[in-house]
């Protein structure tokens, strides 16, 4: 393709200027790619950490200390599984070290409905033993069979839970789980701090939530009912907006790059006016001139886009490894996607900026262009 060849040679003729134009695109594409990957990695990290069971409804007391036993009975009627939970932060001695730890009290049989174990066993009915969360176990090098000290009690650790991440119901990773019997022997409590309701079908979540609100908040609001599905969607939405915002910032630098390409191309159309006149005179069509200049901006955009995307990927890698301490998000398809978004934006900006100069050059009248000195 002769006009592609022309484009290449014309760019090579002004190497320094072409390199500057490419650098502009490189920076813009790098920003878009890196920020896109960053936003996406943060989103992936967050969604991994969020314990995302969409079919949970969580009931918290509202304006009162706890969800009363009577109200719990009402909740139980709305769904197959309702898990009442108590919680308390207390000083616990683990492996000789004293630490403030979250203690959850649950009915023994409920534990397996909500949590998974890594090691050991779950609690037996009415057990006076305990389970520990995975992080707690890691941090204090706890093993099954050891004992924790809570107040005057020394429950034996019978199981270690699987890591679950942060949840909207409970955060078991840094907690100790004891049976309801054990809990009430440690603390006097009436009612529950929260109730987790599991709904059979995800489509019925909304219905169950309404049902609970209707039954309990009849006279005045006594409970707050949260639906995890909604929250998770909300958070995903937030991170999508964050990604878009970061890409928006990257785009600004591309706009600057686009203006510099426009500038470079305008300069070359003016400088090459006479040459364009000659080309037109000896039989080059308008569209040939147009293509020649468009190829120039395409080449600038492609080189800048590819280099920028590689750099952007590198920056994304550094950020992922240094800040999120996890490189696997980088190779997720949704991250790789931003590499292509970056390249596409780079090429798009460049070609768009070249459009006007190319159009102007193609419209030069041959005789006037020939007369130009």
């Amino acid at each position: 393709m002769i006009f592609f060849e022309f484009a290449k040679r014309n760019l090579a003729r002004h190497k320094f200027r072409s390199v500057l134009a490419v650098i502009g695109i490189v920076i813009g594409v790098m920003a878009i790619t890196a920020l896109g990957i960053l936003g996406n990695s943060v989103r992936l990290a967050a969604s991994e950490q969020l314990y995302m069971i969409g079919n949970e409804v969580v009931v918290f007391p509202y304006g009162e200390e706890a969800v009363s036993e009577d109200n719990f009975k009402l909740i139980e009627k709305t769904a197959d599984v309702a898990i009442p939970i108590n919680s308390m932060v207390d000083k616990v001695v683990l492996n000789g070290e004293s630490e403030l730890v979250m203690i959850y009290g649950m009915r023994s049989e409920d534990v397996s409905k909500l949590l998974e174990k890594e090691d050991g066993q779950f609690l037996k009915h009415g057990s006076l033993n305990c389970l520990v969360g995975s992080r707690l176990a890691d941090n204090y090098e706890l093993r099954v069979g050891e004992r924790a000290t809570i107040k005057s009690q020394k429950p034996r650790i019978v199981g270690i839970l699987k890591e679950r991440g942060m949840g909207f119901d409970i955060n078991p990773d840094n907690a100790i789980i004891v049976s309801d019997k054990m809990f009430s022997s440690l603390y006097n409590s009436s009612g529950y701090n929260l109730v987790v309701v599991k709904v059979g079908k995800i489509e019925e979540v909304e219905e169950v939530r309404k049902d609970i609100e209707d039954r309990l908040n009849k006279k005045e609001k006594v409970v707050m009912v949260m639906e995890l599905k909604q929250i998770v969607e909300g958070i995903k939405e937030f991170f999508n907006i964050l990604s878009m915002f970061l890409i928006g910032i990257g785009s600004i630098s591309l706009v600057v790059a686009g203006v510099s390409i426009l500038n470079v191309m305008m300069m070359s159309t003016v400088e090459r006016t006479k040459e364009i006149g000659v080309m037109r005179a000896i039989g080059t069509s308008k569209s040939g001139i147009l293509r020649m200049f468009l190829f120039e901006s395409l080449i600038l955009g492609t080189i800048g886009g590819v280099i920028g995307a590689i750099f952007g990927f590198g920056v994304g890698f550094l950020v992922d490894v240094l800040i999120l301490k996890e490189a696997s998000y980088l190779f997720a398809p949704s991250s790789i996607f931003y590499v292509f978004v970056g390249i596409a934006f780079g090429i798009g900006t460049s070609v768009l900026s070249g459009l006007y100069p190319a159009w102007r050059a193609s419209r030069l009248k041959p005789i006037e262009a020939l007369r130009y000195e």
Partner: protein
């Protein structure tokens, strides 16, 4: 057979200060195979005359026929094709394309037209204008003025046009080189090409068979 025919051609340039009649009701015919020179004082309309024949410019009024084809009303693309296939241009400043080598400059019109074997043909053209093969790889800025003008003539001949138009082809050359170039054009004319040369130089006009003298946009006198 007439290759060029102008019928009552007038060209008016509109300028802010008023309009200029660069060509004033010119009627002229040029036969196939003629070697024509156009002379006249500066500003008399010589370049305008040539540009109109070369389909680079359109007349304000009057008719232009190139090889019996009426040029008036043709689209830009049609005019471009006409220039590519029927007309060869030689300029005072040589006007080779600086990014292309000598050989590529000769090849370029053939590539535009889609002629087969353009690489081989360009080498033949280079030889036929009396240039060494190894000069073919040189860029225009690595050639002397005379060499550049030879390449330009080869380029003008590349698509085997009917007419060669040359606007002061020796204007930037010394007298010895001018003579070489005129001899080359003469040889080209002897091989059947119609050639029209604009010049101020009576020696150049001496090579031609007929001279048009332009004064104030009018053909004042046609001499032999």
């Amino acid at each position: 057979m007439k290759v060029v025919e102008l019928v009552e051609v007038t060209k008016v340039y509109e300028l802010p200060r008023g309009s200029i009649k660069a060509l004033d009701n010119v009627t002229a015919g040029i036969e196939a195979g003629e070697f024509i020179s156009i002379m006249g004082p500066s500003g008399s309309g010589k370049t305008t005359f040539l540009n109109i024949i070369g389909c680079l410019d359109v007349p304000t009024s009057g008719e232009v026929l190139i090889g019996n084809e009426k040029v008036n009303g043709l689209s830009d693309d049609q005019l471009t094709k006409l220039r590519r296939d029927k007309i060869g241009f030689v300029f005072q400043q040589f006007n080779l394309i600086p990014t292309l080598t000598a050989l590529e400059n000769i090849e370029y019109p053939m590539i535009l037209k889609g002629v087969n074997g353009h690489e081989e043909r360009s080498k033949e053209f280079l030889r036929s204008v009396g240039l060494d093969e190894q000069l073919g790889e040189n860029k225009p800025n690595e050639l002397s003025g005379g060499e550049q003008q030879r390449v330009a003539i080869a380029r003008a001949l590349a698509n085997d046009p009917d007419i060669i138009l040359a606007d002061e082809p020796t204007g930037n050359l010394d007298s010895k080189t001018s003579k070489d170039i005129m001899q080359l054009l003469q040889a080209t004319n002897e091989r059947g090409k119609t050639i029209i040369v604009v010049t101020h130089d009576p020696l150049v006009a001496g090579y031609t068979s007929r001279t048009f003298r332009l004064v104030d946009g009018r053909v004042d006198r046609v001499g032999v």
